[in-house]
Symmetry: C2
Subunit: 319 residues, 2 copies
């Protein structure tokens, strides 16, 4: 087996960079560990939004417009569900529903989430190893200024991230066991924190007991790719959350948040002016075009990230 | 409330006559009590084939070609499920799946089957009262000559009724409580055993404790409509089962099976020659065209059945 790259990913941004990495790495050289704290039970089904976004993206069946769900999707079940009074605020396409139905059935039969996802991903033709951060349930809970504590998807989808966030916690994290891919880090080529939301995509992975310690002790370079460009999130509420949680709404704010866990930071060219200040946090900076508009962009960014990882390895500045 | 007609129904034949009765009766004068012993858990979902066939038929959304499922149906979820290795031998259409998903969610939340079905049926615009024979699980088990005991849908759908049947039992029936519509029979205008399979559609309803006694004591005329015409079943394995279970493969065989519970038997015109022998069992016979090819047929047969019921009531020959 080739020296592995371990990518930590949330939803859309993580999926895109993972696809880029999958394109430029040998098939057996990438493991993508995915946030599961967005997971929830809905309509009696086990929904794993981030795992599915990464799986569909790596399988080439993701919906390019929404970033979530499957391409060429239809909505017949949702329409029929609305007709009989079911909940339709969380949109599940017909093809996508097959994933939830099969996963739910197998989880209820006692199979682990990692086993189910490995099989589903293989069936869809995914080559990299796709693993949940844990087989145990961890659930992001968002404390809001106006509406108290909300389950993540209530806040994220139903309320469209509108209520201001005061704090975030990961219910169940303290008892969760990490996937071994997140703790058995010897011999890795590098660890990549994908451009995902720091607070609700990456932080839950780091909150699983043993993961921070493993990252602290990792010999491989640890590199984060900024999810913030020009003070804006590419997608989702990262910028809004940076502000509401008292951070600088910039790549610098993200770099500060990650300072204890990363050796290198990939900064967008638009934000090159922040490089010096980020380096003063004790990490190296690589300036790159981090916008992933198409597959070429994803490949190019992935190649830049790997080049940066290898440079950090050679310079030994990551330990 | 008008004097009620109580129809006992299984799947397609029961659904058709129920629709005919719904057309010729006032909206609040029909209760259809449906077999639930075909119900099963599949793909983690609670499937109720007979209830849904009757519901979709009464709602005008049934698939006229298959007799089960919904019209204008699509199969996107099933195709996607096949792609990821899920079981596809029991075909569930996209619109139909919404019913199963919503029902399963509500049953798991603790709601009774009769409550869920009442609401789903109302949402779909069904006017008659549609009730399960029981809120408790009853499951038809088929003992076959070659393959031992099989769950009903395994035999019925997966094995296409091919294994010869030695006996049938209704697991759980002894502990099931009947829906009150099946035991509170005072003031009924009549009781109709629809042209459903005697052994796996009507017998399970009669097997729920209290139902036979209630029918025995019923003051209203009890009428069965033959599911066998010219020695053949209109649909399904009724004729095959009559033979395998040692009955005469004819309307006479059915009439003998029902002799303890019915006052009148509706015989198809093709089988008029059997009238005398059926009457010798102690029941009245009405010869009619029992083939329900279209809605006019259903209405006409329903009107014939009701006329027969009222005639039996007047003659007092049903007590």
């Amino acid at each position: 087996m080739k020296a592995q790259v371990l990518a930590l990913a949330g939803g859309v941004g993580g999926a895109k960079l993972s696809l880029g990495l999958a394109h430029v790495l040998p098939a057996d050289a990438l493991t993508v560990a995915v946030n599961t704290a967005d997971d929830f039970e809905h309509l009696g089904l086990s929904i794993c939004p981030d795992l599915d976004t990464v799986m569909y993206t790596l399988a080439g069946v993701a919906n390019p417009e929404t970033g979530w769900g499957r391409r060429d999707e239809s909505w017949t079940v949702m329409e029929a569900l609305g007709q009989i009074g079911g909940e339709t605020w969380f949109r599940l396409g017909d093809k996508d529903l097959a994933t939830h139905i099969e996963r739910t059935r197998r989880l209820r039969a006692g199979e682990s989430l990692s086993s189910v996802m490995r099989d589903l991903a293989t069936r869809l033709g995914v080559k990299p190893a796709l693993v949940p951060m844990s087989d145990d349930p961890v659930r992001t809970m968002v404390t809001t200024a106006d509406q108290g504590e909300l389950a993540f998807q209530d806040w994220f989808v139903r309320l469209r991230c509108e209520p201001a966030v005061k704090s975030v916690r990961f219910a169940g994290a303290e008892k969760a066991r990490p996937h071994h891919a997140l703790t058995a880090l010897d011999g890795l080529r590098g660890i990549v924190l994908c451009p995902s939301n720091p607070f609700v995509s990456v932080a839950p992975i780091l909150a699983v007991p043993g993961v921070r310690a493993a990252l602290d002790g990792a010999k491989a370079p640890r590199v984060a790719v900024t999810p913030i460009v020009g003070g804006q999130a590419i997608k989702g509420p990262a910028a809004k959350m940076l502000a509401e949680l008292g951070h600088d709404v910039s790549a610098l704010g993200v770099a500060r948040y990650y300072r204890d866990w990363v050796d290198g930071f990939v900064l967008d060219a638009q934000d090159a002016g922040l490089a010096r200040e980020i380096e003063s946090l004790g990490m190296k900076v690589r300036v790159a075009d981090t916008m992933m508009r198409n597959d070429d962009d994803k490949r190019r960014l992935a190649a830049d990230v790997l080049d940066f990882v290898d440079e950090l390895a050679v310079s030994g500045q990551h330990s």
